[in-house]
Symmetry: C2
């Protein structure tokens, strides 16, 4: 494998990368998909997906990833495991450096390295993810009909989703570490006017407790007081972090959050380099739009390669 060259390399095997792989394989492009863990990306962490179109009863994240992979394999997806530690995008031929010392090069590259929610980093959080701990209200709100949920955060996403959650939950408790919200005024006003939402200020979550699912969360007020709150679920909405450790952020003109800006066709600032899925600088991160961007990115790569002399 060392030092081999491909027309197209796809970095990452989540929904964006697997869809890119499907399109590249089907187009019989000289391609390689590189994934460091298991194909599927964040989807694998998602217990149940109700909003990927085409599955009327929903589908588990694991099954969806497996189906996407099987489909790409049917068209002879070329993939490998490997941990890319750096990318050199300064020349027309792009170079990938692997942890084990190997290198690969390509003419075009689709970055689908994804993102992950910023975690609270408290005991119980990892164990109860998908069992009451959620990072996506759009995805999971309907599972909390007539229940009591906590939302952690104070930005637009947290406050808007707190309002959104009241369409399902009986009660939403918004927990914020400061004494005022960062969300825009009108979003705040709507939340304040909503009788189903109450607010706990100057407070952080220090532990999430429960056996089968979330049962209680432990809170710490700035003044040092601790307390417990009984909830059926907790939405942690304190930001999304890009998986960008291996990316040359300067040449890709990464935004302030470290995400990669692109045009409508997923092209980055570097000719021949596309970005698709959650690593893209954008507002909406869903499985189906990641997949859509994977398809778009391959056609952008084909365009780029067709015009290479």
């Amino acid at each position: 494998m060392a030092n081999s060259h491909h027309k197209l390399i796809i970095l990452g095997g989540g929904p964006a990368g697997l869809t890119a792989g499907l399109y590249a394989a089907r187009a019989r492009m000289d391609h390689l998909l590189v994934e460091k863990g298991a194909e599927g990306g964040q989807v694998l962490l998602t217990d149940w997906i109700d909003n990927y179109p085409g599955f009327p009863d929903g589908i588990s994240g694991f099954d969806l990833a497996e189906k996407m992979l099987a489909q790409a394999r049917r068209f002879e997806l070329n993939s490998m495991f490997g941990n890319v530690t750096s990318l050199d995008l300064s020349e027309p031929v792009k170079r990938l450096q692997f942890e084990d010392g190997d290198t690969l090069s390509c003419d075009s590259l689709i970055i689908c390295s994804g993102a992950h929610p910023r975690p609270l980093g408290v005991p119980g959080e990892v164990e109860l993810t998908g069992k009451g701990v959620s990072y996506c209200a759009t995805c999971d709100a309907p599972f909390y009909r007539n229940m009591h949920v906590a939302v952690v955060g104070g930005g637009n996403t947290a406050v808007q989703e707190a309002s959104h959650l009241t369409k399902f939950a009986d009660k939403v408790t918004l927990i914020h570490r400061r004494d005022e919200l960062r969300a825009t005024k009108i979003v705040q006003e709507k939340a304040f006017a909503n009788s189903k939402i109450d607010f706990i200020w100057d407070t952080t979550v220090t532990e999430i407790k429960g056996t089968e699912g979330v049962e209680r969360i432990q809170l710490l007020n700035r003044n040092g007081e601790t307390s417990e709150l009984k909830v059926d679920g907790i939405f942690v909405l304190i930001g999304v972090l890009p998986n960008n450790e291996m990316l040359p952020l300067d040449i890709l003109k990464a935004d302030a959050g470290g995400f990669i800006p692109t045009d409508l066709e997923t092209r980055t600032a570097v000719p021949g380099v596309m970005a698709a899925g959650d690593i893209r600088s954008k507002e909406v991160r869903q499985v189906v739009n990641a997949a859509g961007e994977g398809a778009t990115a391959v056609l952008a790569a084909e365009q780029y390669l067709a015009n290479l002399s």
Copy 2:
């Protein structure tokens, strides 16, 4: 129904519209999806779809549309049939005028009216669509392994796809009505250098013949000579036309082709109006990216509505 108002109206029920409907219904937004024919859009015309991620063996266009619709209905999609003849987008409250005289209004609107390939308009074309007549090489090329196919057109898409088709077909005959191509030079050069492609100049297709599938096409040279060519399939790649008859193109700042420009989040030039799927001004038109844009558009509509006073 006459004169009723909704927070969100979705215009069109193809993959973009059905996905928007799924997201809007799941979010319990006050929404209505308006479709003039059958839900599914162009997908219904597609015999077999191999490149919608999640279906390893592929799926028929009809089945995919039905699954998307069933999924949205599970979350109580609100939809109706009706033929919108004009849209008034000059005020914050948007108004839809129907053929039968009824009107509807909304605060936010997602335009998913779609597009259709420019047809040749010759006998046999409609009857043999999906049976050898195709408008999408990306979709259908793998079905023509070791066969002889014709490509009609002279632009970038036609010439690039002719090259692409040689990865599957034994022989590709490109038929163009002029004596030179419009495609960019390098794309042309690659096609000229490809021994599997031959060219028929100054010629139009006047009829497509066959019973179960495409068997022969009839050609007319500019000099008046007619001839027949035996082919297994014909790719008509002479452009895509937007379904925009009902749209106020000036205020939406439509592009030269009549498609609607948007930002990355599908927002058009009119606040509160999004465009998703094939009606969008973009380069790649695939089922999966239409669906992805439908999801993005609903979240853009939610943002817009959250900030409405």
